[in-house]
Symmetry: C2
Subunit: 243 residues, 2 copies
Amino acid sequence: MSINTTQRPSLCQQCAMSSMCFSQAEKSKVEPKVRSHKVYHKSDVLFSVGQTFDAIYILRSGSAKSSVLANSGYEQIGGFHYPGDLIGLDGFDNRAHAQSIKFLETSSVCRIGLGELDKAMAISASLRFNLLQGMSHVLNDENKFLLSLNNMNSAQRLSSFLIDLSSRFEELGRSGKVFDLTMTRVDIANYLGMAIETVSRLLTQMQSEQIIEVEKRRVRIIDFEKLNQSLLQERETSLLRTA
Amino acid sequence: MSINTTQRPSLCQQCAMSSMCFSQAEKSKVEPKVRSHKVYHKSDVLFSVGQTFDAIYILRSGSAKSSVLANSGYEQIGGFHYPGDLIGLDGFDNRAHAQSIKFLETSSVCRIGLGELDKAMAISASLRFNLLQGMSHVLNDENKFLLSLNNMNSAQRLSSFLIDLSSRFEELGRSGKVFDLTMTRVDIANYLGMAIETVSRLLTQMQSEQIIEVEKRRVRIIDFEKLNQSLLQERETSLLRTA
DNA sequence: AGCTGCTATTGGTATAGATCAAGAATAAGG
DNA sequence: CCTTATTCTTGATCTATACCAATAGCAGCT
């Protein structure tokens, strides 16, 4: 998955932090004045738990997974990141990062140091708003997703995951119909809270039901309707009891 | 559960938004200059999904639950709030609230309008930082908690819930040993993603194991060590596989 | 106070999905 | 290219816990 240079300008202009890169007059220009713009490779770590918090990042291309350390010290995957995502917001809490970020493929990020961020916030009302909005978005998205997992069976979890990926890709101007999973099945299972065997079985089952086609890491969604429908079959009692 | 007036000053001085209520010189004074300070009762709604976002709130006393609407339209509880909690941060995303807040008992909140918030942020670097920190804290806390639930069995979920409550009460200067659950078992079950019967059974089981004592809504933690230990018995494969 | 609806407990059964096991396919490394 | 390690698939059990059902206790309302 290479950096799609034709998408760069639009990505930057949609970026929550764009006011740090473009002045108002420059917004139409193609060449961004990004401060720091670095490339990482598969398995590289952007930062890890406990590391001093000195910057936030925006993923420009590629993908990454974030993880936290559960009580007992094992790795719990907290989410997957795609271009446009704000990364590192967890660090404001304790001036140290609460999660780790590991890249799943060759990726590039914009780095915004804390110093310049605060300076810019003092000046720009729109940046203040954008940053709060960005954090709020992360909060809402992840929370809603994780919460909904709670009351879903495994098939629904996996469907939900695929739909989520699909719509994120659509938003990025990619295909939401055919895409590659850059994470392993183990990662998916860990994230969704189920056994890797169940992930595998469900994928083949969904294939046999003509909902998706899977070949290795590549997924093709054949029947969006069926995929969405499977989500609606909530547990009956949950429906009745939580009114 | 009445408003504990003796705790008000210290609560305000610890508050992330305190710079909006006290000037630097006033911080030692007892009487806060809170803008708006309203009392609600059990089952009252602070705001609900879709409502225009025009203020953030800080819970001063009492407790509340937040909930989102899952895909199929049923209520999914997203968390419980206690004094000191920032509420309404979800609204920055779409200028409308993504969750609802319903009080579980008589409670009071401070209201901070968006206009005055932004004005204050332009001036105060510490407020900027405090707000970002507050949001980051919410993000980390809820995320970590929800994620950890994923790979826990029911007993661990409930233990985790109780431990979480206990430590929050300790932080508030209350007893972390004896406290009242202000939410119903249905709420707990919904939040933890399990059946209400399981909650009930586990509570009685933990009682028979001399870990806790339960009488109606009142919980007394007898053996913190056992309670914590139960969390460590993670599923074995999760441990091995997620390295 | 007495009715009505809400909340909680306890018992019994069925099943989704974790776990154990083995092998195949793919990737990484020399 | 071959060897070794990782990732993924498929099969067979077994267990946690959702689901169904019945009852009891409490709270709110007239």
